[in-house]
């Protein structure tokens, strides 16, 4: 009895408070993850989903996947998509955040309006961009042609290379407000006095930006980039609506390929193996994120 009482004194009482959340996570997060991992080591298709023995095949699904050119391309596509979106979104978002931080007339209102892309449901955005990039009826081709920049219509969504560009472009449009608003928030936490004293010391605008803004924003920048990475890496709806992974599988991401394997071709185990690869990569990135944040706190 004394031991129990001693156990709950001071710090350990916290464990009890954490317990409900822990149980919740175990049931609603832990269970699906573990059952998905088990599924990826079995050979489950339509034939044995409901009845029949689920054969254990070890790493065969993963071995098959890495032989599959569509899967290897999907990894490459996902990385290309994530990195290019992240870099461009971040640069434009940062520039806009600094710009709107100048507090000119209407700056707040316009900044609010710029949040629109982030608020529109992604399926709607996907459809809009699908129309914009249409070959014969798309407004982009119409505009380019009116300006005399192109002679013939570009087949944006029906040519493998340009389809990827179109999807990346649409996602950048969605992601800019996310980057802008988080960096804006970060900017407001930098005390004005620092800039004032820097001015007195004779620092120029560029120097102020590099020596004060960037270092003080480092934690914000890290969060923005890593959250952005996770958010972009698991893209599904936008690609599904705009191209469904086509043309000729050229825009398949890990998420869309996993969906296709599981729910269009009924290869449940292969689909879950792809999902697990996606999960592992994101887990690695999250670990990195937690490590950087905990280091700073310590």
């Amino acid at each position: 009895m004394l031991k129990i009482r001693k156990f709950f004194r001071y710090d350990n009482i916290g464990l009890v408070f954490v317990l409900p959340a822990f149980i919740y996570m175990l049931v609603f997060v832990g269970y699906p993850i573990i059952s998905n991992i088990i599924l990826s080591f079995q050979n489950v298709t339509v034939k044995n989903l409901v009845a029949g023995s689920k054969e254990f095949v070890g790493l065969k699904n993963y071995q098959d996947l890495f032989q599959d050119t569509v899967f290897v391309n999907a990894i490459f596509n996902t990385l290309l998509f994530t990195v290019s979106c992240l870099v461009i979104q971040f640069i434009i978002g940062f520039a806009l955040a600094v710009f709107f931080n100048q507090n000119f007339r209407l700056s707040k209102a316009i900044r609010g309006l710029l949040m629109m892309p982030w608020m529109i449901p992604i399926t709607v955005t996907g459809l809009i961009f699908k129309f914009i990039f249409g070959t014969d009826v798309g407004v982009l081709n119409f505009a380019l042609q009116s300006m005399g920049l192109i002679q013939n219509n570009i087949e944006w969504l029906t040519t493998p290379g340009t389809a990827m560009l179109a999807v990346i472009f649409a996602n950048i449009w969605i992601g800019i407000p996310f980057n802008m608003i988080l960096i804006s928030t970060g900017l407001t936490t930098i005390p004005q006095e620092l800039y004032e004293s820097a001015s007195i010391d004779g620092a120029g605008k560029l120097q102020k930006f590099i020596r004060i803004t960037v270092p003080l924003l480092k934690p914000t920048i890290e969060s923005v980039l890593i959250l952005g990475f996770i958010y972009t890496f698991k893209v599904f709806d936008l690609v599904y609506v705009m191209t469904s992974g086509g043309p000729v599988n050229s825009t398949h991401m890990l998420s869309t390929y996993s969906y296709k394997l599981s729910f269009e071709m009924f290869k449940y185990s292969m689909g879950s193996a792809v999902a697990n690869v996606l999960f592992l990569i994101l887990l690695g990135v999250s670990m990195l994120y937690l490590r950087t944040t905990t280091k700073e706190e310590a």
Partner: protein, 435 residues
């Protein structure tokens, strides 16, 4: 130290999964919907019990009772209304069984069925796309209807699609097939005649193509819908769905390539559903299209002034068309008696005629189909085309075969591979599935 590592791992996991909630949220919403439905069902059941008690004598005779839930995927409003009307008629005609239909979007339909099957939460009756029937029958979710339902009057193709391991796992709902639609005014203006062969079709398509109008269009999506529209070209050369790397198969792929290369067909067909193709046709952007009879009611309603007619799909060496349509599948372990009772009502002449005519379908029941259309030239053409319609499958692994075929024509249309290479790749995949 070790504990710290573990906690950080757990936290990382949480972070990832929290950001992965895109799907999670939707699923949660669905389950609440489902539970709400269950609640209403439960209360319905209670009132049913009361009713049953008062009409005990009747209930003794009919073994069917309780609730029957149907899943279907028709997005077309007139289809939905027709189904609702038939169900209402059934519910009013007797008091033992109460039927309720639930719409599940086509894109989610297979997913919902798979999830439902593994979670044991399925409806009692589904109306599903016929090429998928064999897959689900092999999964074991359908009740064996052999001997319980007379299908001797039905067309072979539709019955074949619900047969698996020589047992009957469903009842054909209704059939459709593809035919050639053409814009009469454009045809007359160009001085063209209705094509009957591939060469004529290509020529006519080129004649009808202008700056704003493509001569021909058919859905070429890289999925089942695209395969449905592409296979008639292969079949017309005398080949089957499983022999693509043959003279005929390559011929079909080359033909599509020539249509695209000559500009007579827009590359955008790889992003158009059959509905999109129809919309392009009625907007006057496309002069001819391959499409099904289910578009007819919509086209007549949306573009009453457009003058169009239909013809058999032009042939290479024989006429061919894709057999489409839906089947009823009774879920094993559900309310089988109730579902069968409803099927008895739904497959009676009067109901079938009503459903087929409202939806622009052709009855799978030969005797009904023959007398279904008397003065509708368009629908009569579709009945004629029906005799050349071939089923896809039936094969449990059909989705894999279909995927290989749709990849092949997408590679050819986008120029990613030559017809020969695409055919070879597809054949390799097909051979690994079908021995």
């Amino acid at each position: 130290m070790k504990l710290k590592k573990v906690t950080s791992l757990v936290m990382a996991t949480m972070l990832v999964t929290m950001t992965l909630t895109g799907c999670g949220g939707a699923a949660a919403q669905e389950s609440t919907e489902a539970s709400a439905e269950e609640a209403t069902e439960a209360s319905a059941e209670e009132s049913q019990v009361e009713e049953a008690a008062t009409t005990e004598e009747m209930a003794e005779e009919a073994s069917a009772s309780g609730d029957v839930t149907i899943w279907y995927y028709w997005e077309n409003e007139s289809h939905q209304k027709a189904l609702d009307e038939m169900i209402q008629g059934y519910n009013e005609s007797q008091s033992n069984v109460s039927v309720e239909a639930k719409y599940v979007p086509f894109a989610d339909f297979k997913k919902q069925l798979s999830i439902g099957a593994s979670a044991g939460e399925l409806p009692d009756l589904v109306i599903l796309d016929n090429p998928d029937h064999a897959s689900y029958a092999s999964m074991g979710i359908f009740a064996d209807l052999t001997g319980k339902f007379d299908v001797s009057n039905y067309y072979e193709g539709p019955v074949g699609s619900c047969t698996y391991d020589s047992k009957l796992y469903g009842v054909p709902f209704g059939s459709n097939c593809l035919a050639l639609y053409y814009n009469k005014e454009m045809m007359d203006a160009a001085g063209a005649t209705v094509p009957t062969t591939w060469d004529e079709l290509k020529e006519t398509a080129s004649m009808l193509t202008t700056d704003k109008v493509s001569g021909l269009a058919f859905c070429s999506l890289q999925n089942e819908e695209g395969t449905f529209n592409f296979l008639p070209w292969v079949w017309s050369t005398g080949e089957t769905s499983y022999t693509i790397d043959t003279e005929g198969g390559i011929q079909a792929l080359t033909y599509v390539k020539e249509l695209i290369d000559s500009g007579a067909m827009s590359k955008e067909c790889i992003n158009w559903t059959q509905g999109d193709v129809m919309n392009q046709f009625i907007s006057g952007n496309v002069a001819m299209m391959i499409n099904g009879p289910w578009q007819v009611p919509t086209m007549r309603a949306e573009a009453p002034d457009l003058k169009w007619e239909v013809a058999l799909i032009p042939q290479y060496s024989q006429y061919a068309s894709g057999l489409g349509g839906e089947n009823y599948g009774v879920i094993a372990g559900g309310n089988e008696a109730g579902a069968l009772d409803f099927l008895g009502y739904a497959t009676a002449d009067e109901q079938v005629k009503f459903m087929m005519n409202t939806m622009g379908y052709i009855s799978s029941d030969k005797t009904i189909a023959e007398t279904q259309f008397t003065d509708d030239a368009v629908m009569k053409l579709f009945v004629e085309q029906m005799q050349y319609a071939q089923p896809r499958g039936p094969l449990a692994e059909w989705p894999d075969v279909s995927d290989a075929i749709s990849l092949a024509f997408n590679q050819v249309i986008t120029g990613a591979a030559t017809p020969e290479d695409a055919a070879k790749t597809a054949q390799g995949t097909i051979d690994s599935i079908v021995q």
